[in-house]
Subunit: 303 residues, 2 copies
């Protein structure tokens, strides 16, 4: 029966050495070179089989990939540069070492794409479904991390890409917006940013809550992904509420908003969906002049 | 129905601010001040209900405590000082917000005891058992981290405390040997160190493997914990094989070994269990002069 140590040895040989990781896999803890000033970005996400993916359509490789990708998306949302990760996993006993290896390969492939060092991990098995938790470390990029709390009335609200329907497969294959975030961060003064995990409306509400502001969103402007299927819930509702788009919502001054639209390389894929308003205003404006409340919608784990 | 955001807000208010954490709970990632030179110690451990604890005799508070404690033990095994952590959790849906809060309180109490900042986390619920994964960051302490790979033939092998029988409750309540490790690290030149998670024999084998050396262990010297029950497996076998003692195994030169025995404050609780030998020698010596192979025993997750 293959065991954890055979798997750990295999991963250790594959991963090799990395300049960021003076001591890697094979001891009680890794030693990782991280930034002390102003600090290191740290994010963690746990994915569970049956909630965050199912087999099929997911494969262990896609599950591993997603476990890292959702965390890279969080680093992107802070306008940071991901540098290293550690991964803990509860493997369903009896699915074999090939399952464990495919899971690792999904992590490794995305880690290589973004030059993220795999510094260590914890390999377990049990009689339950797959659970995988990744912790990702990132560097801040001057002038510093972008928080949810910096939106100001009058700011233009943008979203990268389009939203809705990710459940049909995109939630497993999306590319985290790390490069886009860094390009935006170097071009303009980002006031607030978040990635769309709970849903476009719910995550915009997180910005509004933390910034103590309101927003007016133009329904007609919401970029609806071609993955959305019209199934009783309207395409607009899908785009606002589906979640796991892993696009970025951000706000900038109108001047910087105009600057983005004037730059062909930056404006690609960007959509202005509304304007930050005074606190208390949370409105969805229809093309017909209708005004409805901007509902929170979106995913929340119930306890 | 209480949800993740109510719980996150509650944790955020409790945890407050910490000088190590310029940006804490409430954004896409935390910002944590970590050491860049020579690096930051990073360790992660995932615990699963049914494998690492069961309810009862465990409580959610003890499960949370253990999730942090096993990681602090890993930092101790590197002779490091723990400074911060992040925790991801899959909560069994329907056990209520009190369960989630108790889990947090178990983490928080131990974190305060060791001045470990709780920098962030990920709160999920699902229809499965409790899974909790903690990632802990530590500072190295001069002259640097102690690896598994530094044992040298002739070294004396020590263990802190005594081993075996932790399953009867100690695996939930042990105090990680952080303070002991730091005291030893400042007093002598530690050559190799590991914490006893898989089992005294198995974890000693990890030192031997990584150091490419052998060992002679004196059976009569093995400190057997009073928790061990004589139930067909001998007390010695329990002490060598049970695991989850979270004591430290370390090796030092004979000169430093003698120095430890000469210091009343350091020698308390320490036992010399044997001597590092040339590679190829892995022997258990009985009090009657018998020589048997030093078996690996111990826990391994099968895949």
């Amino acid at each position: 029966m293959p065991g954890e140590f055979e798997q750990i040895d295999w991963v250790r040989r594959r991963v090799g050495s990395h300049p960021r990781v003076p001591l890697g896999i094979g001891d009680d803890a890794a030693l990782v070179r991280l930034s002390s000033d102003p600090g290191t970005l740290v994010t963690v996400d746990m994915l569970m089989e049956g909630t965050d993916f199912t087999f099929p359509p997911a494969t262990p490789r896609l599950a591993g990939r997603k476990a890292l990708a959702v965390n890279l998306s969080d680093i992107a949302a802070m306008a940071g540069r991901p540098v290293a990760c550690v991964v803990s996993v509860a493997l369903p006993r009896g699915r074999g070492i090939e399952f464990a290896r495919e899971l690792h390969l999904g992590i490794e492939e995305l880690a290589r794409e973004f030059d993220v060092a795999i510094a260590g991990g914890d390999t377990n098995s049990w009689d339950g479904p797959l659970v995988v938790s990744a912790t990702v470390f990132g560097e801040t990029v001057p002038p510093g991390p972008i928080r949810r709390s910096g939106a100001q009335p009058g700011d233009w609200i943008f979203v990268t890409g389009s939203c809705g329907g990710s459940i049909h497969g995109r939630h497993l294959t999306f590319t985290p917006r790390v490069r886009e975030a860094l390009a935006l961060h170097s071009a303009v003064s980002l006031h607030a940013m978040i990635d769309v995990s709970d849903g476009l409306a719910a995550d915009l509400h997180h910005i509004l809550d933390e910034s103590r502001v309101g927003a007016v969103v133009e329904a007609a402007a919401i970029p609806i992904h071609s993955d959305v299927r019209d199934n009783g819930t309207t395409p607009l509702e899908h785009a606002l509420g589906d979640g796991e788009d892993f696009e970025l919502i951000f706000t900038v001054s109108p001047e910087d908003g105009a600057k983005l639209f004037a730059d062909d390389s930056l404006k690609s894929g960007l959509t202005r969906i509304g304007t930050i308003a005074q606190v208390g205003v949370r409105e969805l404006h229809g093309a017909d002049g209708s005004v409805s409340p901007l509902l929170r919608r979106g995913w929340e784990h119930t306890l």
